[in-house]
């Protein structure tokens, strides 16, 4: 009797996951980094988009549909210290136009554009959109993200301590989150961040805050309009790292061992993060049409060898 009841509970739990988990909505697509190249998952299909083997970080913007990826090279090396030069390559997925800019170690897709990830306050009155070159006014925020239409902004302000705020509403208390690791959904309805003890948390203007029982890694979380969050998360397995962004299960010369990273999915109502890709990092939600453009671009590149 007890056994039957237990089975029922398990079936009920599985049914809940099946209804609520990632993958049920075929329209949910994302891109992530796998062995220093970009792959796209959409409609149950995974496609490797680039074949460069040196991409450290990347972002995708849905409108206008664009891809930006960062590579680096060492410019100076001493016994203990190296200096690097970072280059960001921006691809207009609609036109195929490619542009490169130097200087930024990392970029972020937010506010309907692609912005250098830096303290806006420190860099002056604002920052600039790498897609358009136009200045983005930050309205007194040091670190910020905003909805695609830029109407909803969330970030830190000097005069408000380190709290994460949006238009006077406290989203997360200072000290509990990293200014580098938060995201707002393109429609501005949900904010994902790492909270106390680095647990993955989500704030929604409608439902308040909820946190998972664990967190992710140094990568940014990515949150969509339905509150689903993607993160890079340790899988518990051992991997061999050629570089922080290039790792696999197979040991090769020059690699060092560390925990594997995979892609995790979480949304409020879930206790734990579910691993949906066993290997990978730096996940980003993308629109299905952007996924299509990325695949088309990849096909184009397959014909024209990548430099």
């Amino acid at each position: 009797m007890r056994s039957a009841a237990g089975s029922t509970c398990r079936i009920a739990a599985l049914a809940f996951l099946a209804v609520s988990g990632f993958g049920q909505n075929q329209q949910e697509c994302f891109a992530f980094l796998l062995r220093a190249d970009i792959s796209v998952v959409c409609g149950g299909k995974t496609v490797q988009v680039t074949h460069r083997g040196n991409i450290e970080r990347f972002v995708v913007s849905d409108e206008p549909p664009s891809l930006a990826y960062t590579t680096s090279r060492i410019t100076r090396r001493s016994a203990t210290t190296t200096s690097s030069q970072f280059t960001t390559t921006i691809v207009n997925l609609a036109s195929g136009a490619v542009n490169t800019v130097g200087g930024s170690r990392s970029v972020v897709s937010t506010c309907g554009g692609i912005l250098p990830m830096e303290d806006a306050e420190r860099s002056g009155s604002g920052t600039h959109d790498l897609l358009t070159g136009k200045e983005v006014m930050t309205g007194g925020y040091n670190w910020f993200r905003c909805s695609s239409d830029r109407k909803i902004v969330v970030g830190t302000m000097k005069q408000a301590g380190d709290d994460l705020r949006s238009d006077g509403i406290k989203v997360a208390p200072g000290g509990d989150f990293s200014v580098y690791q938060f995201d707002i959904s393109p429609d501005g309805s949900h904010v994902a961040y790492y909270g106390d003890r680095h647990a993955l948390c989500e704030f929604s203007f409608r439902n308040g805050t909820e946190c998972a029982d664990r967190g992710g890694t140094a990568d940014l979380p990515s949150v969509n309009g339905s509150g689903g969050v993607l993160v890079a998360v340790g899988t518990g397995q051992g991997c061999y790292y050629k570089a922080p962004y290039d790792f696999s299960l197979r040991q090769t010369p020059g690699t060092t061992e560390d925990e594997c990273l995979g892609i995790g999915y979480w949304k409020p109502g879930f206790k734990s993060i579910q691993i949906i890709q066993p290997l990978g990092r730096d996940p980003h939600w993308i629109e299905p049409q952007t996924a299509g453009l990325l695949e088309a671009w990849a096909t184009h590149l397959a014909v024209k060898p990548q430099k």
Binding site: T80, S83, S106, R214, T217, A218, P244, E259
Partner: protein, 268 residues
């Protein structure tokens, strides 16, 4: 749980005589040629067991284990590297670009923490080599149990203990991991099976720091220094980092000859 860390006492201590009953296992590593007291390898921390702390008997003469304030400082330093967007440096200890620290490796992170407690570690190399050779035998005191602020060493990795549970097991440490850069590894997280398995090979070390000056006594040797030896000691002085660095670079046979020769000179 971590039985491998137990029973690591290096010498037997007689409370009746206030001396160890076996010689310091470091041999030459524990001898200061300019401090005759240190030539007696049965002496406990320069004959001042009340004011000095070297319970395992492995810090060299003139050095004592870091105290609780210094251990707290180590933890505070590594904490200051968290959530700063700093990555892991695969190419060296530090990647500094445009004046900003972009990335740091595990040895670099521990180096920075130790630099804050008068432990100069400019010659600190990969944890997989240096921690098992000169640095371990000279300036790190193998510990019998973990304490917050200790150095935690794995084959190929190193970090700082930031949490210990009631049973004395490590609950968390901060290291710069390839996958994350500087980050807390929370071993109480049941999903951290990878790190829980690696704990089986982990060891604890306490850094040895320059001892306070003895009242009425001679000045202890200066702390280890980078570059030319510093502190009035030539580069070949056995405790300078330059010497240790050089010693580490020569073939094993030559190394044994050098250490045994110096040991002979000191004991003669």
């Amino acid at each position: 749980m971590y039985d491998g860390f137990r029973n690591m006492d290096q010498r037997y201590y007689s409370s009746g005589t206030g001396s160890f009953t076996t010689p310091d296992p470091l041999g030459i590593g524990a001898v200061n040629p300019q401090n005759p007291t240190s030539w007696n390898k049965y002496v406990y921390v320069l004959d001042d067991p009340v004011n000095r702390n070297d319970p395992m008997g492995l810090c060299p003469p003139g050095y004592v284990e870091a105290d609780s304030t210094q251990l707290a400082s180590i933890v505070s330093t590594v904490d200051s590297y968290l959530d700063k967007g700093i990555g892991y440096d695969k190419n060296g200890h530090y990647d500094v670009t445009n004046g900003q620290l972009n990335a740091i490796d595990c040895s670099g992170l521990v180096s920075q923490a130790l630099a804050g407690i008068a432990y100069s570690s400019t010659n600190f190399k990969q944890a997989s080599t240096t921690f098992t050779t000169s640095q371990t035998s000279s300036l790190f005191n193998a510990d019998s149990s973990f304490q917050v602020g200790d150095i935690i060493w794995f084959p190929g990795h190193v970090g700082i203990v930031t949490g210990v549970d009631a049973s004395g097991n490590v609950a968390s440490f901060v290291g710069s991991q390839t996958s994350t850069g500087p980050a807390v590894v929370d071993l109480t997280d049941k999903t951290k099976t990878y790190w829980q398995s690696r704990m089986k090979g982990a060891k604890a070390y306490k850094p040895c720091v320059p001892a306070p000056v003895l009242a009425g006594g001679g000045a202890p040797p200066s702390g280890p220094t980078g570059g030319g030896g510093g502190g009035g000691y030539p580069w070949w002085y056995p405790y300078t980092e330059s010497f240790l660095y050089w010693l580490d670079s020569i073939p094993v046979g030559d190394k044994e000859w050098v250490t045994s020769s110096i040991s002979y000179e000191m004991e003669d």
